[in-house]
Amino acid sequence: MRPLSVVVRTGCDLFAWFLIVFGANVIIHGDVTPGGGFQGGAVAATFITLLLVAYGGKKVFSWVRPGIFNGMLIFGLMAFFLLGLMGFPNSFFYNFIAVPHEVVQATGHGVIPPSGTIALMDIAVGIEVAGALSIIVLSMFRGIRLFREGPMEEESGHDR
């Protein structure tokens, strides 16, 4: 894909970063609002989509390496898993840093309730989803490029 016009590119420059901020906001408040890891991660992943649309593949692939997103993916998954294992003497994913319901009620409304592992889990899932969706978008984009540019190339490693 070729880069779009200068208007689009400037708009992208102005607003793209806010997507990440908004995504992070949704992720971090996932435990107490109707947001969460997946939603925030999906918002954050639109950043790379916007870059791809505005600047075209050649530039974006020179800016980012897909390995970074792979790292985010693995980090998120591992963090999720370790959080789950930390609850183990009781049960998988037991809310071990949560405050019981009675205490929350005694402190009254308006105080953000400490929701234990759910908040941490949301952050882990958010990182994972942002990485995974970016990978999906990048590899589908690469798939388009493969058949835009001339005849189909041989695939590697499949020796039949």
């Binding site: 107490v32 109707p34 939603q39 929350v104 308006g110 105080v111 058949f147 189909m152």
Partner: protein, 115 residues
């Protein structure tokens, strides 16, 4: 009667999805039909949990309202959306590969596997 309107919409959407799934020949349209069916199911789940005048089912955001909408169907819907996203991405990637191999998206011409 008006309370049943969402379910009516669900039925119409679901039938639309099924009809276009069976009648359309283009793979992209079939993928869209599957997404429509998924959306119909999601609307079904959300409207199951709706209570008239209900508020957000978060303990400290609910305010003074006494009824809350049910949170479980909403959680189910979110999970279903996540799954639908994964399958849609996979389906579109498969369609891209089909286009690369066959050079067409017409399902009548994509039939190497027969009998």
């Amino acid at each position: 009667m008006i309370g049943n309107a969402p379910f009516f919409v669900v039925g119409v959407l679901f039938l639309m999805g099924l009809v276009s799934l069976f009648l359309s020949k283009n793979l992209i349209k079939i993928a869209i039909a599957i997404s429509i069916i998924g959306s119909a199911v999601n609307i079904f789940l959300v409207s199951l949990g709706y209570r008239a005048g209900g508020t957000i089912p978060v303990h400290f955001l609910a305010g003074e309202g006494s009824t809350m909408v049910l949170p479980t169907p909403q959680a189910m819907t979110l999970t279903a959306i996540v799954i639908a996203l994964a399958t849609t991405a996979l389906l579109l990637s498969l369609i891209m590969l089909v286009w690369r191999h066959y050079g067409t998206l017409d399902i009548d011409e994509i039939r190497r596997l027969r009998g």
